[in-house]
């Protein structure tokens, strides 16, 4: 019981995730700055932002539905932390696993988007309602490619448990070459979920001020920012566990080091894509996702089905 509490609250649960979320944000912002030929914020900037925000007063518009609005950041943070408990880190076995947990992880990662929508809608300000509606429209665009890409490798592995899938792929490492298209699609769809450029449409600063987060301030805004950082780590860990199953079988030191390297690699890719493209419009984004990414994700499913058939696994 006590070890369970330790796992959930400290490692690899809440505290570990919050701290590694700050580290991920530091790396992202520093790298973004260096790619743009400037120095960037100091390494402790995310912690300083968090501490400053906690100390500020919370003000909400009079027409806002304050209990719902204050509940949403807590819901978002809870869901992403819970999703992390099912992802294998350094070894093949995650903290808790059961058959079908990969579906639960993906659904748990969808709930924060709904919480951005509800938080923005019930803030009742023009900018937040526009941002909330855009967040839901964006959900319709990237969700299908993300689901298909994450679930395609399970076809070969014959299981819907993430831990068993990691075990299967670490025993047959060459089979993950079939999943390259899925890897690229899932990185881009993950950027859609995390609302990073070119998909940061719900939070477009120059169009709708801050989207759903416009009327948030103080502690609840700090929690929202923490939940976005944690969602980055959780999404990157999910993609790493599904598509990059290396280093799972060689003991916990090499496993931890390879986990850190994998997360760093995925964050590096996301920051790089963020630097070199402009933001899209919402109609262009839906066009792009349904015309390019969904067919490629379907292609990935087809490749896996054919591989399963002809390699008779």
């Amino acid at each position: 019981m006590l070890t369970d509490l330790f796992h959930i609250a400290i490692f690899p649960g809440f505290l570990f995730l919050v701290i590694s979320g700050f580290i991920a944000e530091t790396i992202d912002r520093k790298m973004y700055a260096r790619l743009q030929n400037r120095m960037g914020p100091p390494w402790f900037q995310p912690v300083a932002d968090f501490l400053k925000l906690i100390g500020k007063e919370e003000l909400y518009p009079c027409e806002a539905d304050v209990p719902v609005v204050r509940l949403m950041p807590i819901v978002a943070l809870t869901c992403v932390v819970t999703a992390f408990l099912y992802i294998p880190l350094s070894g093949v076995k995650a903290l808790y696993s059961f058959e079908g947990d990969i579906i639960v992880i993906i659904y748990l990662l969808t709930i924060p988007t709904i919480s951005y929508f509800l938080g923005g809608w019930y803030s009742r300000s023009v900018y937040s309602m526009l941002g909330a509606v855009r967040a839901i429209i964006q959900l319709f665009a990237y969700e299908v490619p993300l689901f298909l890409a994450i679930l395609a490798p399970t076809i070969l592995a014959n299981t819907w448990s993430l831990s068993r899938m990691a075990e299967f792929y670490s025993q047959h490492p060459l089979l993950c070459c079939f999943n390259i298209i899925g890897f690229m699609i899932s990185i881009i769809s993950l950027m859609g979920k995390l609302e990073k450029t070119p998909f940061d449409i719900p939070e477009a600063e120059t169009e709708i001020v801050a989207g759903s987060f416009t009327e948030y301030s103080g502690r609840m805004l700090a929690l929202f920012k923490v939940s976005i950082n944690v969602e980055t780590i959780v999404g990157a860990a999910l993609v790493a566990a599904v598509f990059l199953p290396f280093g799972f079988n060689s003991g916990w030191i090499i496993g931890s080091v390879s986990f850190v390297l994998k997360i760093l690699f995925i964050i590096f890719l996301m920051t790089l894509i963020r630097t070199i493209v402009a933001r899209l419009r919402i109609d262009q984004m839906i066009d792009l996702c349904w015309r390019f990414f969904a067919p490629f994700a379907l292609l990935q499913v087809l490749i896996n089905l054919l591989a399963k058939e002809f390699l008779s696994i």
């Binding site: 260096r34 790619l35 743009q36 030929n37 400037r38 120095m39 960037g40 630097t275 070199i276």
Partner: protein, 125 residues
């Protein structure tokens, strides 16, 4: 050929180059010699004609008589627009510009200062 990510090559090159920004206020940038910063005043050359006061667009400089043929220049740094017209108007060349620009204060009264001859360079044309 229109493709995404045209900036990729240039962006990756910058990982290995020095950043173009400096860590102000720890590292400071130097201003060139003609930079128009705070004024400096040579009381030995002033004759009290008050041409500088007449030509100042914002009424920032005030010449006060403190003795026989001896004058003081009082400047309101908040009103000065650092145009250096007074430097051009003074035919005795008593005023000149220094490169000092970090003049911010929290208390507005501290911005009314007496000019001194801290920067003895005459202005360069």
């Amino acid at each position: 050929m229109i493709r995404p990510g045209k900036a990729l090559k240039m962006v990756l090159e910058y990982i290995f180059k020095k950043p173009a920004t400096i860590n102000y206020p720890h590292d400071k940038a130097a201003m060139p010699p003609k930079f128009r910063g705070k004024l400096s005043f040579d009381a030995s050359k002033c004759v009290g004609c008050k041409m500088c006061m007449k030509d100042c667009p914002s009424g920032a400089i005030t010449i006060k008589k403190v003795g026989e043929k001896s004058f003081q220049a009082e400047m309101d740094l908040a009103k000065c627009i650092y145009c250096a017209q007074c430097v051009d108007s003074c035919f005795k060349k008593a005023l000149s510009i220094s490169q000092e620009f970090e003049l911010a204060q929290i208390d507005r009264k501290k911005l009314v200062v007496l000019l001194d001859n801290s920067n003895a360079e005459s202005d360069k044309k």
